[in-house]
Assembly symmetry: C2
Homo-oligomer: 283 residues x 2
């Protein structure tokens, strides 16, 4: 059979013969349908297609183990957010961007610790409870957090800084509660000195992220969640560069009044507090 | 408005504000529709999405100016072939893969030249006419050709070889005719030591290309074509790794009988001949 622009898609599918992996086949064939339809629907020219392939080439060239330009591309195109959304379980806290700065070996710290050394920024008490979808506390849940400082910088981004600063793993108490103090992070831009930055400029888009705290929260027999907590009445909540904000993930930073009872023991007296509970679905 | 998995695609489209470039906007928005639908339709997991992003990262890492893994990926997924097909003009010779080995400064040679030095393989007389879609010859048309040798190797692939061997640009005579001798190329594999090779193996696919001659043919005021000429009754015509074969691009290699009149003056006596005419549409 002669191939033409209509039956070519099936011919390419048929060329992949290892059909015993049904999931691989589904992903591959669905991707082929969409990419081929993209070409047909747009009557793509050779120059345009080479432009796209060279864009991917440039993304590869600027990438390093510390800078994954394809993840950044996925982020600014809303693909990472979409994967987060469709993988959120009913009743559980919504997922949001992992981002590029996660380290899986954050220092284990005791509840009440201050995790920001002497970094600039307001000291905020972060506290809350980890529960299951029926409302039961999850004692022993682990809260893994990392964040930028009050200048919008992750220590890992700057030579000579302690990359484990502003990172910690906490084990919740008998009531599933976590609490610690840190500095309130500020907004920052995603890297825009590469091909993805060019794409943002071509589309007259900014590179700012709304200020946020990163969390991975897990507990035995529960499905871990990767998410972010944002702050009410701060910038870029409506136009976060990577579409990470969800209404349900916006917490409120409240001033702590003089002499106010905190209800928990902390290493450093905070200026404000942010209460945010996490809900996990069964694994 | 809160974004969710259904309205996110429009939110991402709206984030690109430079709408004055209608073509950029169309390509971007069509691509966003397809990529987002791919995620929704497959209920893609985080692990699968990271697998795809890391595959692209790996393609970037192995790429060099001489090896563009994203073009190779486009080739084996039939995307290059599809772009060739939809850009073929009615009545003109069908387009086919440019491939990775083109050099735009091939040596200009006289009609009748032998372009294969002492390379192994049968000597074949390649000849034909370049015409417009109404059948009029195009005197002065330029035929730019490059190919592998009788062992399936492009000189550019091997250290110490003359990379301009097996390449030539010919200007057609007053009747739009071209003729030269070369060695009959043999099949070869696309590079399969990288991420694309892994994909081929995962799909139980081979990496062989049907033997072919590459051509770019142009003439004043005509639309140039990039194409390939294949040979009847040779291997991989039905399962070329990059989907380059079209029925209309398969020529016939015919033995030259002892004492047979060639009709053209050539530098080296050929063993066989291949007649193939090219048709160009107006620019």
């Amino acid at each position: 059979m002669e191939i033409n622009q209509y039956n070519l898609t099936d011919a390419v599918k048929d060329s992949f013969k290892a059909k015993d992996d049904a999931r691989f086949t589904l992903l591959l064939e669905t991707m082929l349908d969409h990419l081929h339809d993209f070409v047909r629907e747009t009557s793509l020219t050779h120059e345009e297609w080479m432009g796209i392939l060279n864009f991917l080439y440039d993304c590869g060239k600027i990438s390093t183990p510390e800078r994954h330009e394809f993840i950044l591309l996925s982020d600014v195109l809303g693909l990472s957010a979409l994967v987060d959304m469709i993988n959120t379980r009913g009743g559980a806290t919504e997922g949001s961007n992992l981002g590029p700065f996660y380290l899986d070996n954050a220092p284990v710290k005791a509840l009440g610790a201050h995790i920001a050394d002497d970094r600039p920024g307001a000291t905020v008490l972060c506290m809350g409870q980890v529960r299951d979808t029926l409302g039961h506390p999850l004692p022993g849940a682990v809260v893994d957090t990392w964040q930028a400082d009050g200048a919008g910088t992750y220590p890992i981004q700057e030579e000579g800084q302690d990359k484990y600063d502003l990172r910690a793993k906490f084990t919740c108490d008998d009531e599933g509660r976590y609490f610690y103090t840190t500095v309130l992070p500020m907004p920052y831009t995603v890297p825009y000195d590469g091909p993805v930055g060019k794409l943002l400029r071509a589309g007259d888009r900014h590179a700012w992220r709304a200020a946020h705290l990163h969390y991975i929260v897990g507990a035995p027999r529960m499905r871990p969640i990767t998410t972010e907590v944002f702050f009410a009445n701060t910038d870029y909540l409506d136009n976060d560069a990577v579409f990470g904000v969800r209404d349900s993930l916006i917490g409120k930073v409240v001033r702590i009044k003089r002499g106010e009872e905190l209800g928990v023991e902390v290493e450093k007296q905070p200026d404000a507090k942010l209460a945010f509970d996490f809900v996990l679905a069964p694994a």
